[in-house]
C-alpha cells in the first residue's frame, strides 16, 4: 500500500495540482473555521471565568446589587460572626488613548485592607507602596501589571490617558505588579487604583460594584451566606465567585453556541468537497483501477488506497487548518467579545487560547470529514469492474436521476420540516440533529433535481449562445455526477447563506421596525456607550436640568436593571409608562394599551415581553416575583407585548412602582421630547454644553441613537456574517474544482473542437457558461431550501433560545447581492480552467487518454 501511495497517488496529485490544492483548501477552510470559532468561544467563556476567579482572589463570597452596592452595606456586615474580612471593589473596562494597548480592566480596591483578599506582589522601584498612604494621597495613582507596562513602554512616574465618557482622564503610574495571581486577570491588561478614587473617576457616587467577603477558618459557605442574608436587603445578591461567573457564562453561552452550527456547516462543506473531488477522481482513474484489479489488487486494497489518500489529504488540510485557525481565533474572539460586551455587558480577557484538546479535535474532525467524504467514492472505486474499466471510450457514469432516491429524500425532508415545526425534544442536540437531517435529505434530492434542471435549461443556453452554450450544455450533461455534485455543494453553501443571511436580515428588519415604534423621543441622553451595562447612572435631578433647556417639552426617565429571575438574567425596565405609551406604538399579544395605561401606569402591575411570557410560561393574571429593596416584590401581569429589549425577557413597570419597590432613583437614559418646531440638533448641543464637565453624558438625536443601536446589532451578527462568506467561499471552491476536472476530462474533446475550428474565446466562453449554469441551478435550488432553513431558525431556534418567534421576511437585499455576486464569482471560478482549456495544444489533446 505504501508503494501505491508513494507512486500512483502522489503522481495523481502531481498531475492535478490545482484540483488537489482546492480540495485541500476546502478542508483547510472547514477546519480553520471550526478551530477559530470553537477556540474563540472557549477563550471567551474561559476568559469570563478566569477573570472572575483571578479577581476574586481569596474572597469566598461576593455581594452585588444591580446598580452598585451602597457604601453603608459595609457597616451592615462589619464584624458579623464568621466574617474575617470584607473589601469593596470597583471594576471598569476602559479604552486607553493608545488604542493599540487594547481594553484595560481598572480594578478599584481599598489598598489598606485589600491584602486580605489578594496578593499584590508590588515590585521594582516602588518603595512608596510599602506605605500605601503615599499612594493613596494622590488620587491619580495607579499600579499596572508589569507585562502591560513593558508592552506599552511605561515606567513608574509615566502618565496613562484613559478615554472616559466624561472625556479623557490622566492617571499616573506609581507601582508595578508582578504578573502572577490576580495580576494576570484580563490577559494582564490590569490597572489597580484606590477604590474611592475609582468611585470618583468613574462616577459611581457612593456605591461599589461589589463587596468581597473572606470567611474565618471553618465557617461554611452556607452558614456565612445565611448570616449575610439576614442583614442585607433582599435585592443584594450573596453568591460565590464561581456562581457569579457561571451566571455570566450562561448569559453569553447561547450567543456563542450559535456559532457551532456555522463552524459545523463549514466542516460539512469541506467534507462534501472531498466527496466531490474523490468521486471525480474515481471516475477519472477507472482505467488505472481496472489495471490494478487485473494485476491482482483486491477491492479492499483499492478502497483502502482511496481512503488513505483522503486521510493524507485530510491530515495535511487539518494541520494547515489548525494553523490558520490559530491565527483566526484572535479575530473571532475580538468580534465575539465585543458582541458579548455590547449585548450582555459581560467582559472577559481578550487572550485567545487554543487548548491542546481543541487542536486534537480540529485534526480529528478534519480527518473524519475527509474520510466521511471519501467513503462513498472509495466504495465506488472498489466496485469498479475491470472489464467495464477497459471498455473503449470515456467512461460515462450512470445517470443521477432515481425515483427512489428523490422520493426518499423528499420524504426525509418532510420529516425534517415536521420536526422543525414541532421538535420532539428541546435543546441544542435536537436542533443540530434537525439541521443534519435536513442537510442529508437535501443531499438526496438536490443532485437528481439539479440534473433535471440543467437538462431543462440546456436548450435555452444553447439557443442564447449557439456555440459556447452548446459546448457548455454538453459538458454539463455528459458528466451528470460531476455536475450534480458541484451543484449540490454550491446549493448547500447558498442554502446556508439564504437561510442564515435571511434570518439575520429578518431579525434586523424586525428590530429596526420595532425601534421605529419604540424609540420615538427626539433626543436620548445616556451615560455609557454600552447598552447592557451602563457604567454610570444619572441622578434623578438631571431631569430638571434637561427640562430647563429651551425647546424641551418633556423628559422620561428610563432605568433598566438586570435581575435574576428563575436562574435567568432578565431586564426590569422602568419608565413613566403613560407618557411613554402616548408616543409609542406596541404590538399587544395579550391585553391592550388601555389596560397597560390603567393597570401598569396607575395600578402597580407590569407588562411582560412575549419572550418572557413564553420562556417562563406566564400570562395575564400571573404574578412575577422579584427581589426588591425591602422584600419580594409581586407584580401581577396586566399585558403581554412583543418586545426585543432582551433575549432573556423583559418586565416593564411604571417608574413610580419601580421607585417604591426598588428604592433606586437613578436613571440610565433620559428620553427627551421636544416642543413643536424645536431643532433637535440645536437642543442636543445645548444639552451637551449644559452637562459637559459635570457628568459623563452621551447626547444623541433619535437618528444617531438608532444608528448606534443598529451598529450594536451588526456587531452581534458580524461573526456569523464572516462565517457565511467562508461557507460561500467553500462553495465557490467546489465550482472551481469541478471546472478544472471538466476541462481535464474533456481534453480530447476540446482538442477535437479546436481541430474543427473552435476558437480559444469560444472554449473559454463555454467554460464560463458552464460555471454560470452550475451556480444558477444552485441558486434556484437554494431558494426553497434556504427559506425553510430561515423559517426554522426564526420560528423554532429563536423560540428555543430567546423565546422570540420572528416574522419571516424575504431577504430581498441578500438575494439581490447574490444575483450580482454569483455571475461574478462564476466568472472568477472559470478564469483558470478556461485559460487552461483554451491553451490545450490540439495534437496533444487528441492523443490524450
Amino acid at each position: 500500500m505504501k508503494f501505491l501511495l508513494q507512486t500512483l497517488s502522489l503522481s495523481y496529485v502531481r498531475r492535478h495540482r490545482a484540483k488537489t490544492f482546492l480540495t485541500l483548501l476546502g478542508v483547510v477552510v472547514g477546519v480553520a473555521t471550526y478551530v477559530a470559532v470553537v477556540g474563540a468561544r472557549g477563550s471567551l467563556l474561559g476568559g469570563i471565568r478566569e477573570t472572575v476567579d483571578r479577581m476574586a482572589g481569596k474572597a469566598q463570597l461576593q455581594l452585588t446589587q444591580e446598580g452598585g452596592v451602597p457604601e453603608e452595606l459595609q457597616e451592615a456586615i462589619r464584624e458579623r460572626p464568621g466574617i474575617r474580612a470584607q473589601a469593596p471593589v470597583i471594576e471598569q473596562v476602559v479604552v486607553p488613548e493608545r488604542d493599540e494597548l487594547g481594553s484595560l480592566l481598572v480594578l478599584g480596591v481599598d489598598l489598606l485592607g485589600d491584602r486580605e483578599m489578594r496578593d499584590y506582589g508590588f515590585e521594582g522601584e516602588d518603595a512608596d507602596l510599602d506605605d500605601p498612604l503615599l499612594f493613596l494621597a494622590q488620587a491619580d495613582s495607579v499600579a499596572v501589571a508589569r507585562p502591560l507596562a513593558e508592552r506599552a513602554g511605561l515606567k513608574v512616574g509615566d502618565v496613562l490617558v484613559l478615554k472616559l465618557p466624561a472625556g479623557p482622564r490622566s492617571v499616573t503610574i506609581r507601582g508595578l505588579l508582578t504578573p502572577k495571581g490576580f495580576a494576570e486577570a484580563f490577559g494582564g491588561n490590569l490597572v489597580v487604583m484606590d477604590v474611592y478614587a475609582a468611585q470618583e473617576l468613574f462616577g459611581r457616587g457612593r456605591r461599589f460594584d461589589r463587596l468581597e467577603v473572606r470567611l474565618e477558618e471553618g465557617v461554611t459557605l452556607d452558614a456565612a451566606t445565611a448570616t449575610l442574608r439576614a442583614v442585607v436587603p433582599p435585592n443584594v445578591k450573596v453568591e460565590t465567585p464561581d456562581r457569579r461567573s457561571g451566571q455570566m457564562e450562561k448569559l453569553v453561552a447561547n450567543f456563542a453556541a450559535g456559532f457551532d452550527v456555522t463552524s459545523g456547516f463549514a466542516l460539512g462543506l469541506g467534507a462534501f468537497l472531498i466527496y466531490n473531488a474523490f468521486s471525480v477522481a474515481v471516475n477519472r482513474r477507472r482505467r488505472d483501477i481496472g489495471t490494478l484489479r487485473a494485476l491482482g489488487a483486491t477491492p479492499r486494497q483499492v478502497q483502502a488506497l482511496f481512503l488513505l489518500e483522503a486521510l493524507a489529504l485530510g491530515l495535511a488540510g487539518s494541520i494547515l487548518g489548525v494553523l490558520a485557525g490559530v491565527g483566526l481565533t484572535r479575530a473571532a474572539l475580538d468580534v465575539m467579545r465585543q458582541g458579548a460586551e455590547q449585548v450582555y455587558g459581560v467582559t472577559a480577557s481578550s487572550e485567545a487560547r487554543l487548548t491542546f484538546p481543541l487542536v486534537l479535535q480540529g485534526l480529528a474532525l478534519g480527518l473524519l470529514a475527509s474520510l466521511a467524504g471519501a467513503l462513498a467514492p472509495s466504495r465506488a472505486a472498489a466496485a469498479v469492474s475491470p472489464t467495464e474499466a477497459f471498455a473503449k471510450g470515456v467512461h460515462q457514469a450512470g445517470g443521477v436521476w432515481s425515483w427512489r432516491r428523490v422520493a426518499s429524500g423528499a420524504a426525509l425532508l418532510a420529516v425534517t420540516v415536521a420536526f422543525g415545526v414541532r421538535p420532539p425534544v428541546s435543546g441544542m442536540a435536537m436542533i443540530l440533529s434537525i439541521v443534519a437531517l435536513g442537510a442529508f435529505s437535501a443531499l438526496l434530492v438536490v443532485g437528481p433535481v439539479s440534473h433535471r434542471l440543467l437538462a431543462f435549461g440546456a436548450p435555452l443556453v444553447a439557443r442564447l449562445f449557439p456555440v459556447a452554450g452548446r459546448l457548455a450544455s454538453d459538458a454539463l450533461l455528459s458528466s451528470p455526477r460531476r455536475s450534480a455534485g458541484t451543484v449540490t455543494a454550491m446549493t448547500l453553501a447558498l442554502t446556508f447563506a439564504v437561510g442564515i443571511g435571511g434570518y439575520i436580515e429578518a431579525t434586523t428588519a424586525t428590530l429596526v421596525r420595532w425601534m421605529r415604534d419604540i424609540l420615538t423621543s427626539d433626543i436620548y441622553v445616556r451615560a455609557s456607550a454600552n447598552f447592557a451595562r451602563p457604567d454610570y447612572r444619572f441622578a434623578p435631578e438631571v431631569k430638571d436640568d434637561l427640562l430647563a433647556v429651551p425647546g424641551v417639552r418633556s423628559v422620561e426617565s428610563y432605568r433598566a436593571p438586570r435581575l435574576e429571575y428563575r436562574g435567568e438574567t432578565i431586564v426590569l425596565a422602568s419608565i413613566e409608562m403613560e407618557a411613554m405609551l402616548d408616543r409609542t406604538r406596541h404590538d399587544w399579544v395579550e391585553g391592550s394599551e388601555e389596560i397597560a395605561r390603567r393597570e401598569v401606569g396607575r395600578g402597580g402591575s407590569c407588562t411582560v415581553s412575549d419572550n418572557f411570557a413564553r420562556k417562563f410560561d406566564l400570562g395575564v393574571g400571573d404574578v412575577v416575583e422579584l427581589p426588591g429593596a425591602r422584600g419580594t416584590v409581586r407584580l401581577p401581569i396586566a399585558a403581554v407585548v412583543k418586545d426585543y429589549t432582551s433575549d432573556r425577557g423583559t418586565v416593564f413597570v411604571d417608574r413610580r412602582t419601580f421607585l417604591a419597590a426598588f428604592e433606586d432613583d437613578r436613571v440610565d437614559v433620559f428620553d427627551v421630547n421636544l416642543a413643536a418646531g424645536a431643532d433637535a440638533g440645536k437642543v442636543r448641543d445645548a444639552i451637551r454644553t449644559k452637562l459637559q464637565g459635570r457628568m459623563p453624558a452621551l447626547v444623541s438625536t433619535k437618528r444617531e441613537f438608532v444608528a448606534d443601536v443598529e451598529k450594536a446589532i451588526d456587531a452581534f451578527y458580524a461573526l456569523m456574517q464572516v462565517t457565511l462568506v467562508l461557507a460561500l467561499a467553500v462553495g465557490v471552491l467546489g465550482i472551481v474544482t469541478s471546472l478544472l476536472i471538466s476541462v481535464v476530462e474533456r481534453t480530447r474533446e476540446i482538442g477535437l473542437l479546436k481541430a474543427l475550428g473552435a476558437l480559444g474565446g469560444q472554449i473559454r466562453s463555454s467554460v464560463a457558461l458552464e460555471a454560470l449554469a452550475l451556480s444558477a441551478a444552485a441558486f434556484l435550488l437554494s431558494l426553497p431550501l434556504g427559506t425553510l432553513l430561515a423559517l426554522f431558525v426564526e420560528k423554532t431556534v429563536a423560540v428555543a433560545f430567546a423565546g422570540w418567534s420572528l416574522p419571516h421576511e424575504t431577504p430581498w437585499l441578500l438575494l439581490g447581492q447574490l444575483l450580482v455576486a454569483l455571475p461574478f464569482l462564476s466568472a472568477v471560478s472559470a478564469w483558470v480552467p478556461a485559460r487552461q482549456a483554451a491553451r490545450t495544444p490540439v495534437t496533444e489533446a487528441l492523443e490524450y487518454e
Binding site: R15, R293, L295, P299, P386
Partner: protein
Amino acid sequence: MLQLKDVRKVHEGKARVVALDGVSLSIGEGEMVAVMGPSGSGKSTLLNLMGGLDVPTSGTLLVAGADLASKSEEERSLFRRTHVSYVFQAYHLMPTLSAALNVELPLHLAGRPAAEARERALKTLAEVGLSGRTTHLPDELSGGERQRVAIARALVTGAPLLLADEPTGNLDTAKGEEILQLLKSIHEARGTTIVMVTHDPHAAAACERVVKLRDGRVVEDSRG
C-alpha cells in the same frame, strides 16, 4: 489448465446481449492458443472469464482446477495474483510510473518486499530486452517497448497462465512480429500457458492451436 463447460455470459442492460452462448473448451497446461473471431463474437468476454475478471452467467469454468464462479470478488483477485497475468492491446501501463515500477506493481500488490520486487522486475525487464530502459516513463517508450514492459509485468509474478488481448493490435508489422516472437519464446522457455485473442491471422499462426468464435459460440478448434 482451463476447462469450460457450456459457459454462457449474458449482459443484461437496456438491450440483452448474449456474449457467450454455451462455450465448451479445454486448454491444457503449456498450450499456446489463439482465439479469433469478428468483433462482437465474444473473444474479450471469454478472456475476461478465464482471468476471473468476470464470472459466467451459467456453465462451469475451472482455471487451474479452481471454480472461479464460486469465488468472491476478493478471492478471485487473490487467485489472479498467483495464477493469471494479462497483456492488453492498449498496454494499460501506469503513465506516471517508470518501466521498472510498472513491472514491480503486481509484486507490491501481493505484498512482496520492495528489494525483492525491484530485483525481479529488473531481471524480467532484461529478459524482455529492456534493461536499458528501466527508468523511462511509458511516454518515453515506443509502442513495442511499452508492450514489452506490459509483458514483463505479466511475467514477473510467475503466473502459469498468460492472457493476451490483441497484444499486437497497436503495433506495426515489424514490432508486432517481435512481440509474437517474445511471447513464443516465453512460452517455450517457461512453459507458460498463453491464450491470445487476436484478429490477425499471422499472429494466430504463431500459436499451436486456434479457436474461432462467432456469435458467442466456438465454430472451429484447430491445431496447427
